[in-house]
């Protein structure tokens, strides 16, 4: 039993790492632009299908390298055309718009690629479990975790040491002051959106290898990321990170004892966190409220 529990905790961390990747992108966009991006799951699907479409030509590794920036490019275009007019308006509108956008993306992928799921093969050496006992730690899942760590490290470097990153962080705290300093806030938001979508695209490529590709796959992955942000505390990227890992572990552990609740448990957790600490585990008072 202890072993089983230990397995599930480790496994929960692996699953959580994936949610973290999604949630970080969602969180970046939410923090700076005050937009709940309902289409985030859609962008994940786009990332996955781009990888599927280009992998015959560039291989899995090429797709991994190319699909996220291509997705980010699409995201950039979407931000320019659709999201930008909504800044400064009630968050209701961006919520509805991205909600509709998610519809269009799901239907668009179905239109282009068909309703049939698509097989995505991963390099054979990654498709092996590491050992017979730790069978659930496959090369691919380890690779996914590694990719998440790399992405987080790069994001950290970007936010901490580059001019863009410092401005994003400053903008998250106080956009008006940033604007008053003569920084091009529109550009800042565009780039920030693109970074967020880049992460969604990366999640998509990784998910395609793990789950297979379907036009509807984004919807199911969106909500846990959402919860990760609330649990971690809106406005805090470390919070998002912790929230993602936490819900991964929580649903993994619940699956051992009470599988029917393994999805509901993350919502319960959110309720408890909100009761005890309304701003979330790492959230700061006043943020977004």
């Amino acid at each position: 039993m202890t072993l089983l529990l230990l397995f599930n905790i480790t496994n929960g961390l692996i699953v959580g790492a994936f949610y973290v990747l999604m949630a970080l992108g969602l969180s970046l966009i939410l923090n700076l632009s005050n937009v709940i991006n309902f289409a985030h799951g859609g962008f994940l699907v786009i990332g996955g299908y781009i990888a599927y479409a280009i992998s015959p030509y560039v291989g899995f590794w090429g797709a991994l390298l190319l699909a996220p920036p291509l997705t980010a490019l699409i995201g950039l275009a979407v931000e320019r055309v659709l999201i930008r007019p909504l800044y400064g308006r009630d968050p209701l509108y961006s919520l509805l718009l991205t909600f509709g956008l998610a519809f269009m993306i799901e239907d668009g992928t179905r239109f282009i690629f068909g309703p049939q799921g698509k097989p995505v093969a991963i390099p054979p050496f990654l498709a092996q479990p590491l050992s017979n006992d730790l069978f659930f730690i496959t090369g691919y899942r380890l690779f996914m975790v590694a990719m998440v760590i790399v992405a987080i490290a790069l994001l950290f470097v970007l936010l901490r040491y580059t001019r863009l990153g410092i401005r994003i962080r400053a903008g998250t705290l106080d956009l008006e002051t940033v604007a008053a300093l003569g920084i091009n806030v529109r550009m800042l938001r565009s780039l920030n959106f693109a970074v967020g979508i880049f992460l969604a695209g990366l999640s998509g490529v990784l998910a395609a290898g793990q789950l297979g590709l379907e036009p509807t796959m984004g919807t199911g992955l969106l909500m846990p990321s959402f919860i990760a942000i609330i649990v971690g505390g809106i406005g805090s990227l470390p919070g998002t990170l912790a929230g993602g890992l936490l819900i991964g572990v929580a649903s993994g552990v619940t699956a051992v004892f009470f599988p029917a609740a393994s999805e509901a448990v993350i919502y319960m957790m959110m309720a408890v966190v909100l009761l005890a600490r309304p701003r979330g585990l790492f959230g700061e008072e006043g943020m977004m409220s």
Partner: protein
Amino acid sequence: MPISRRSWSVDRRTILKSGALIAAAQITSPFVIRARGETPIRIGMVDPLTGVYAAIAQNEVVGAKYAAEEINKKGGILGRPIELLVEDSANDVGTGVQKTRKLIDRDQVSFIIGDVNSGIAIAMAQVTSEKKVLHVVSGGHTDPITGTSCSWNVFRVCNSTAMDANAIATTLIEKFGKKWYFLTPDYAYGHSVQASFEKILKSAGGTSAASLVPLGTPDYSAYLIQAKAYSPQVLINVMGGGDQVASLKQFVQFGLDKQMAVGGTLFELESIRAVPDGARVGWWTMEWWWDQPGVPHVAEFNAAMKKITGSAATARNWFGYASVQTLAVIANQEKTLDAPKLAHALAGFKLPPEIALQPGAPEYRAGDHELMSTVFVGEAHPPQGDADNMFTVKSPVPGDKAAGPVEESGCKMQWPA
């Protein structure tokens, strides 16, 4: 693939006659089977063309449309052409019920076909029996449809979950052993398949454990860890659609395929196509298979489907086809559209070979209105030769044998006075 209908407008009759608008409709609705002279007989079809079952639902529609074309070529029903009206239930019960009412109340359809989603199919059956419209369930599998919830006007083409489970259970026991682990989706379909399996396993003296998995779960590792801890001889994978794809993929990635056998009831061709070669494994049932050497008409049907979809015919294609053909052939035989009369005639009706497309002549069993269709038990594998040759039939089980006695279905058929 747009599935289309004529538009909704002020006065439909005049518009239908208006040449210009018909020309416009040609562009937007290439699949409409339109009236020629006679008022057409309408068949309404409700299926989840969007959402998680979109792939299989759209394949049913392809089969149904093909059937409608064939029937119209041969003179339609009672000398009138037929028109197939397809509505999307969006995998939502409320929408499915609404569309059923719309087809019956507004479009005055004579027959209803659908739905892939069992829950919607049963909800639709409530409406069709209330309105006394003959209803063929093309692709919803749960037992109650022809069991506890059966109705005089409802007939089912696809198998019940019990039939599929019964057909393959003994094979699995004999081949691999009696210690099983279930990966079961947590809704009625899953529960019903698991219950059928457990009944047989228990009577054979086997043991089992199960994980009930929420629908739409992306990651199966937690359940597979438990499965492995139980160390079963067979992992019964009852998941459907994308869930089955994801769970099988992870099953193989974890190397579990080297430690236990995998199998279950359905691993439809649509799903086999959606997984990479490595995950094309296990023992399953097919409810219809395109490669049946020596069985008449199958090759022609397969070729026709291939011309439309570009790949081999699937069981879903046949469900749609058989549903429409059933309605046409019984109406032509009885020379009426009266639902109770047709229902009486269909009870015990044997499908002719050009519709059955399988060995023998399956009948709609009078006791529960379930089609006694052959269950093809076999093994999945990566493509051999033909790209769609990913399943080898090992033993076709006759439907009535798989179904068991009608008393066990729980159906108490009541006919209107």
